[in-house]
């Protein structure tokens, strides 16, 4: 045998050995028994995460709400049973002055951060100021704040330029979580006026937390998982799970499979179609609950090509031409509700507003009255995404078909979410569609964003007018509280509904799906899911 041949032979022997090893391994380990874990059972939550930052004063997303709530506490929280009731958090009591321009909070003396140091008024001041000065996506929540005073270490006085009765509800929003200012400052955080350019703590927050919540951050791997450990110094009721992992599971069917296989305990985005597959599965509990999320279409006459929409009768006709029940059936398998105005069901002012109804003939008549008996063509740019189980593309195709019945041709132009934001804040589009989820539990946010008022919302730049009535009513609502405020929001809801610039399409219900031995899974109006409430023994 020549040396060359010998070499070839040896090489082939190696390859064969490798193949054999592979074959053995392929057949031998296919069982894939998970390695055992030690200690207590960790809780695993599956979720498609939209998180970009772990810095509570920079973030603004649904996942942020959940995680920040677990790590940081707010001055107050909201009663899940009644969104207009505020409950104590870090503050044991609070009061507002007569015109709702000044709020005084008395901090609970027992409240401590995860390093054992007390939560003090200076931390509150620092956290709120940092939220504003970082100029982040959630900074708008404290717009109009003129100052924070701390007469002593357990009293915080927050003042506003104008009445702001929404402030208590806003205080319960996860973005207003209180950060341990000393620890954060040591790690580069700043609350100074120039914080937007000098604060350097975002990287630190990716690996650490500094709050007083039931959990602390153990590890974060973007796109993969967030691991939380119970806060040993927690001053409230100790959470039952000492370890929690939120795992990135992008699609709904995969969440379902992993829940059924017992690999995850809670699946957060199960699609309504999948609900039937879980029926009869003893190991999994499902609940359908109402949500405050909704999808809508917006009709914006001042955008290029939007002229036909200037007439309110045309907008009204479009509202009447949509088959809403059909939408709820097609888009969310019937697990959804209709909504009358941009203020969603369950929020102050929504109760008495008439729900939209399908009336083809009425729509045709109105359109003829407005001079568009032969219809018109208008384009709709909207993001191509699935929001809370609603596929916006499907929604718009259904609306397109419905509008064709009254001669209105809708040209669909689905784009990336990023491109959509650029469009609505740039050149504009006469028709658009997207979703909205609340940032807090006060109805003012809907008027600020969807009202025809000049306050940096989505709609107003494109309506071609400003409603003085709505502007005044909002200012009035923000001075009021209780039943008076409820009545004012009702008026606002009716006024916005009558404008028909924003037509809510579907208010999808939320599907809670979790392992049957888990308790405490609930949809929280302020905070989405409160991980600290979860326990064993359902």
């Amino acid at each position: 045998m020549t040396p060359a041949r010998q070499r070839t032979n040896r090489r082939w022997r190696a390859v064969l050995a490798g193949a054999a090893a592979l074959a053995v391994a392929l057949t031998g380990c296919a069982g894939g028994a998970p390695a055992a874990t030690t200690g207590d059972r960790p809780l695993v939550i599956a979720r498609a995460m939209d998180l970009t930052t772990m810095d509570p004063q920079r973030g603004y997303c649904d996942t942020c709400q959940i995680i920040y709530t677990a790590l940081y506490e707010r001055l107050v929280t909201v009663d899940p049973a009644d969104t207009s009731t505020v409950l104590p958090g870090l503050a044991e009591s609070w009061e507002a002055n007569a015109d709702n321009t000044q709020f005084t909070f008395a901090l609970d003396s027992g409240a401590v951060f995860s390093d054992g140091s007390p939560v003090e008024a200076s931390d509150v001041k620092w956290s709120f100021e940092r939220l504003v000065n970082l100029q982040g996506s959630a900074s708008f929540l404290l717009a109009g704040m003129t100052g924070i005073e701390t007469p002593d270490e357990s009293t915080v006085v927050v003042s506003f330029e104008k009445p702001n009765s929404a402030f208590l509800a806003i205080t319960a929003a996860p973005y207003l979580g209180i950060v341990n200012s000393e620890v954060a400052e040591e790690n580069g955080a700043s609350a100074a006026e120039d914080a937007a350019s000098t604060d350097d703590a975002e990287g630190w927050f990716l690996e650490n937390s500094a709050g007083s919540g039931p959990y602390t951050l153990a590890a974060y791997s973007s796109g993969e998982s967030i691991e939380l450990t119970a806060n040993e110094e927690y001053w409230g009721e100790e959470p039952q799970f000492t370890e929690v992992e939120m795992k990135e599971v992008t699609d709904s069917s995969s969440q379902l499979q992993q829940l059924q296989q017992g690999d995850v305990d809670v699946a957060m985005q199960i699609s309504p179609d999948a609900l039937a597959q879980l029926e009869g599965d003893e190991a999994v509990t499902t609940e359908v609950v109402d949500s405050y999320n909704y999808t809508y279409i917006a009709l914006l006459p001042a955008a290029p090509g939007g002229e036909p929409l200037e007439d309110v009768r045309v907008r009204e006709a479009i509202r009447m031409a949509v088959d809403y029940d059909g939408l709820v059936d097609t888009l969310v398998a019937g697990y959804g509700k209709l909504q009358g105005s941009p203020i969603p069901n369950g929020f102050e002012g929504s109760k008495e507003v008439a729900l939209p109804s399908y009336d083809l003939d009425g729509a045709k008549d109105l359109l003829a009255e407005a001079g568009y008996a032969d219809g018109f063509t208008v384009s709709a740019t909207y993001p191509k995404l699935v929001a809370y189980g609603v596929d916006l593309d499907l929604q718009m195709q259904a609306v397109q078909q419905d509008l064709a019945e009254i001669g209105v041709t809708l040209e669909l132009n689905p784009v990336d979410f990023t491109q959509w934001i650029s469009t609505v804040s740039g050149d504009g589009t006469p028709v658009t569609a997207v979703y909205f989820a609340p940032d807090h539990t006060d109805s003012s946010q809907y008027v600020q964003y969807f009202g025809n008022i000049d306050q940096g919302g989505l709609i107003n730049p494109w309506t071609g007018s400003v409603s003085q009535e709505q502007t005044d009513l909002l200012a009035q609502a923000l001075t009021e509280s209780g039943d008076e405020r409820m009545a004012t929001y009702q008026e606002l809801a009716e006024s916005m509904a009558a404008d028909a610039f924003v037509l809510p399409m579907v208010n999808p219900q939320l599907i809670l799906a979790y392992a049957s031995d888990i308790s405490g899974v609930a949809y929280s109006p302020c905070c989405n899911l409160e991980i600290g409430q979860l326990g064993l023994g359902g």
């Binding site: 100029q135 990023t418 934001i421």
Partner: protein
């Protein structure tokens, strides 16, 4: 040989600069603004917030200046900070690359070995049952879309039969091994944790197979065709006439001469596998370069897009260099100088 390698290495920086420039230009030509993804639709109408974000992410200067800044920082090894993960792109890539490499390398091994074995079986049992079965299997692999096979295999073997683990690199409630290479299989062995190794290994099989199936199809058909060609050549007749055993004819002569094109395919396949990994990683919740790239593109995360493109370019150039070297090693007609 050394001169060849050095010459090839010398043009690498130029090629990479070209890649970076193209990635930079293309990402800036997109009709949307990354600021929209950073700020969100709620604050896009707030000029102060938008301006603060532009300044923070260096998007307030002229594009050419931005390009010079980027390339300048790149020369110092700084790939910038991702808009979406808020971590440095080099850290992000370093964390995710091992996951993708582990998957792609195993896929490459499965694809190459499986493809060659199938090809040999096909060629030696031409038109018999084994040949037909192998050809159907190969055809399925190269024609079924990856996302479909991935979902179906997961559904059958994980959700229904429960004999394969689900998506992810490890089972739920299992902590990864201490970081050494980032390859969980290797790191778990280094840590001496056999159950963890088996868990990581089992999680690799399904996605690696899905990724490899297409390659397996291509290679097996290539090997089959090449071997059938060789079998009809004069030298094979001569070898047979000399009385050499048929298996030896196949192995030493026919197969060896049929492998040259396979090497080319495998070399380029590595690039293709990395691309296929984009889909497989999405389906199998694999936190690698593929899913990072998708997310970066979706949100117009400039630094991340450029980083992924640069990394892809480096891998591609290395793979083609290795291909050339292997070519020279197995085909005596090729001489590198």
């Amino acid at each position: 040989m050394t001169r060849f390698v050095l010459r090839r290495m010398a043009i690498v920086p130029l090629l990479l600069l070209g890649i970076v420039t193209i990635a930079f230009v293309i990402s800036r030509l997109m009709p949307s603004d990354p600021i929209a993804a950073i700020v969100g639709e709620r604050s896009m109408n707030n000029p102060e917030v938008v301006q603060a974000a532009r300044e923070r992410w260096g998007l307030d200067s002229n594009v050419f200046i931005q390009y010079l800044n980027y390339v300048g920082r790149l020369l110092t090894g700084d790939m910038g900070t991702s808009f979406q993960t808020r971590a440095s792109v080099s850290t992000d890539l370093a964390e995710r690359l091992p996951a993708t490499m582990e998957l792609s390398l195993l896929a490459l091994v499965i694809g190459a070995i499986g493809g060659i074995v199938l090809g040999v079986i096909s060629a030696s049992r031409k038109d018999k049952f084994a040949d037909n079965a192998a050809r159907v299997f190969a055809l399925l692999g190269s024609s079924l879309p990856i996302f479909w096979t991935g979902l179906i295999l997961l559904f059958v073997f994980y959700a229904q039969l429960g004999i394969m683990p689900g998506p992810g690199r490890l089972s739920a409630r299992v902590d990864p091994p201490p970081h050494v290479t980032g390859f969980y299989t290797i790191d778990s062995l280094v840590a001496g944790n056999i159950p963890l190794f088996l868990d990581a290994w089992a999680h690799l099989l399904l996605p690696a197979f899905v990724l490899a199936w297409g390659l397996m199809g291509t290679i097996s058909r290539l090997v089959r065709a090449a071997m059938l060609d060789e079998l009809h050549s004069d030298y094979v007749r001569t070898v047979r006439a000399k009385g050499i055993a048929e298996t030896a004819v196949m192995r030493r002569h026919v197969l060896r001469n049929s492998l040259t094109p396979v090497v080319t395919v495998v070399g380029f396949a590595f690039g293709a596998l990395l691309m296929g990994a984009v889909l497989v990683e999405q389906i199998f919740s694999w936190n690698g370069i593929g899913s990072y790239a998708v997310e970066a593109a979706r949100t117009l995360d400039y630094p991340a897009i450029n980083g992924v493109t640069l990394l892809g370019g480096i891998i591609f150039l290395l793979a083609s260099l290795v291909t050339d070297l292997v070519y020279a090693a197995i085909d005596p007609r090729v001489r590198l100088a």
